[in-house]
């Protein structure tokens, strides 16, 4: 497959007809895309802290060795 005129037209045709919101919703709900959500910090400094340790409860990292995809193992 090459980026021929025909292939370009196919790609353009799809993306010209879809609006941003619709594409994002489709990507996330049907295809599993993930959105990075940045949290805006309003308090950027503090004087004291009560916690001695920090535990992340939002670790989104993936250990690829734990992914189970045995049926399609090449």
């Amino acid at each position: 497959m090459k980026l021929s005129k025909d292939i370009k037209e196919k790609i353009d045709s799809f993306f010209n007809k879809i609006v941003a919101n619709e594409l994002i919703d489709l990507s996330i709900s049907k295809y599993g895309f993930v959105e990075n959500i940045d949290i805006e910090l309003t308090e950027l400094s503090f004087e004291t802290i009560n916690e001695l340790f920090y535990y992340s409860d939002s670790d989104n990292s993936i250990d690829t060795e734990t992914i189970k995809n045995l049926p399609l193992a090449a």
Partner: protein
């Protein structure tokens, strides 16, 4: 029409099922080439059959259950036929140009929303195929794949070591399967 010879490493039990009733359509890895059945093929390595064996051995270990789930591996040699216009070859500049244009077009639409979407080849390829944007039946790509040694020693490189291909619809593009090797997994030598 292009003919590709692929090698698929799996357990003996899975191999018997494949020989009986061909591969089934599978959900794929979003970090790789999307949905499809995966094969090691000639490319970066001239020994894709060996890589299929190493993969089957590595996949025998279930990291969640902390145990081996099978102790006999099998390698299937598979003949894949695909028309040039249905093959997206990401080992070549032509294929990469198609992927880049696809991502650029996607980005041009979503930038109006100013939202930050994480990309992965597999996801954008699945979208392109399923929404009828591109007629992709088979995809090839070069990747760094971790086998048993790399997993145990936690070796992570960026240098690609494998050429793999994904076949989306096995019944359409796979014409022949042969078991070429079976063997016991000797866990002490991994």
């Amino acid at each position: 029409m292009q003919e590709i010879i692929g090698y698929h490493g799996t357990s003996v039990d899975s191999a018997i099922e494949i020989i009986k009733s061909n591969y089934k359509q599978s959900c794929g890895n979003k970090e790789w080439l999307g949905d499809g059945v995966y094969f090691f093929i000639n490319g970066i390595s001239s020994k894709p059959d060996e890589q299929a064996k190493e993969w089957a051995i590595a996949q025998a270990w279930d990291n969640n259950r902390k145990e081996y789930v099978y102790n006999r591996y099998c390698i299937i040699k598979t003949k894949i036929n695909v028309e040039e216009e249905n093959l997206l070859d990401l080992t070549k500049e032509d294929g990469i140009e198609v992927l880049n244009y696809l991502i650029e077009s996607y980005e041009n639409v979503i930038k109006r929303e100013k939202r930050n979407i994480k990309y992965a080849e597999g996801l954008i390829i699945n979208l392109a195929r399923s929404e009828g944007i591109l007629p992709i039946d088979v995809i090839k790509g070069n990747f760094y794949i971790k086998f048993a040694k790399e997993r145990i020693k936690n070796i992570n490189l960026r240098t690609n070591n494998c050429t793999i291909c994904a076949v989306f619809e096995p019944s359409k593009n796979i014409t022949k399967n042969n078991i070429i090797k079976t063997g016991e997994i000797n866990y002490e030598t991994i």
